[in-house]
Symmetry: C2
Subunit: 296 residues, 2 copies
């Protein structure tokens, strides 16, 4: 697979494993699609599925899976701690390899167009696909949840982007769109002074004038007696790991504080690691297809 | 596939594509084995095959492929510019992911044991698998080639490690063993003074007291008006890319010469790239399974 998109549908069923399996089965044994992971939470009554694959293959399997979820899940009977508005609550498309965010956006819109037509399900576009700024944030869209959504959608501000103008009677409404992969990245400082971590967090985060795609805050690692600048990089292609690291190192110097180390929590796209090696080694013309494991 | 070994058999047939296809077919459509690449050279009359896969699967496909090559290739009729001694000339096993060089060595020995038994073909162990220092280097083993090998093997120094004590009448003798992946790595210097590149090459290469797994020489890049320290890293896990880069940078400083950039030629194992990011970002507890693309 030369072109890979990731899709992480959140499904509003985390208890009835028989139903869940029928939905998961849609993802299995499909050509050019791999079910990478799924994780159910009974309290949340929700399952987060991770699949990767060739864009057209992911599109077609997602249309099928939405149909299966609409058929099996009745939100009128759904209880759980996690806010939700649809049988398939949210469907993000994430570019991974040789796919642009524009293509992921197109994919999201094609799935919404086709699934709304087939199943009479309304869709809101969110994140990079949002049709208006107030719709970028999922929490804004979902506010009111399944129970309040029919009323909310009467407001022109909340007319769906695809499908009928009110909720599906049992499957509610789904948010869909393109987003970049998140990188959870932390830098550990050789001090126990939380003020320093917070001051540096402010230097690098967007909200206080820092990098466009960085969210940051200072936290204490009590067992280690140090503090940490804890971050989410929401677009590592534009706010690079190494640039954030070097900036934190530079800011820490003014306090005479050294960097103990840094950590990447969870998954990170290969491109982010290659970008780092590329910068420090000043690589010329390096292409990540040269990395042996991407060809396996 | 959690565990991956690479195997790069060199087959003494680069002209008769019909024969070659019959051998390549052995690698195709096998579970847990991927034929990554093959490259034939008519002048050399030789084909270099690259396959990767789960160790036991690679072992079994290699035993089968050796059998097919022994059946089809007659070295008495073989002409070509490249030195060769066997229908399957050399079979290196290269650890790629979650496989140690010791396991690759064991694999090489198991293939040699089984293939010698099945086909009456003698094997020399070479590189990391060599049974004596004078057998580590493939060129030493192959000296005399197919035509001289029967005579050479009468000498106790050249008794094969597996199989009959003389050559197979049509398929000759095969070298087999474990080796680390090679990384071709060059660092470009902001000077046109070749003496400086050569002096630095001496500082870093093993033969002159440098890093154990570095071969290096200075070369001119005439079109760019600069010079380069051109290297092979024969074990990037022990002589790391970043350590070699930083040492060259340090040595260049004494001449007041800056580093223009560096380049990786061809494929590089993911681990080498991760090691680089790991060093510069001072990553704590980073595992390359966290790299998204290795899970696809």
């Amino acid at each position: 697979m030369d072109r890979i998109v990731e899709c992480v549908p959140n499904i509003s069923e985390g208890r009835d494993l028989e139903k869940l399996e029928k939905i998961l089965d849609v993802f299995r044994g499909k050509r050019d699609v791999k079910l990478l992971d799924y994780s159910s939470d009974e309290d949340h009554n929700r399952t987060v599925v991770t699949l990767v694959g060739e864009p057209e293959a992911v599109k077609s399997v997602m249309i099928e899976a939405i149909g299966k979820a609409v058929e099996l899940i009745d939100l009128n009977k759904h209880e759980g701690q996690h806010p939700r508005m649809g049988a398939v609550d949210v469907v993000p498309f994430i570019p991974i390899r040789n796919v642009t965010v524009e293509e992921a956006d197109r994919l999201a819109k094609e799935v919404a167009a086709e699934a709304s037509r087939l199943y009479g399900l309304p869709f809101f576009l969110y994140e990079k696909s949002a049709s208006a700024p107030h719709r970028e944030n999922l929490a804004n869209i979902r506010k009111g949840q399944f129970e309040g959504m029919a009323e909310k959608m009467k407001d022109g501000m909340w007319k769906p982007d695809f499908g009928p103008e009110t909720i599906h009677p049992t499957a509610g409404v789904t948010a869909i769109g393109a987003r970049m992969p998140l990188v959870a990245y932390n830098v550990n400082l050789a001090t126990n002074n939380l003020d320093i971590a917070n001051a540096i967090a402010k230097n690098v985060r967007h909200i206080n004038g820092g990098f466009r795609h960085v969210k940051a805050l200072g936290i204490e690692l009590e067992d280690r007696g140090i503090v940490q600048v804890s971050m989410n990089l929401t677009d590592y292609t534009k706010s690079s790991i190494y640039r954030v690291f070097e900036t934190i190192k530079m800011e820490a110097q003014r306090y005479g504080v050294a960097i103990v180390g840094s950590e990447i929590v969870g998954l990170v796209p290969l491109q982010a690691i290659v970008d780092t090696a590329d910068y420090y080694l000043r690589l010329e013309n390096f292409n990540f297809d040269q990395v042996l494991e991407t060809r396996l």
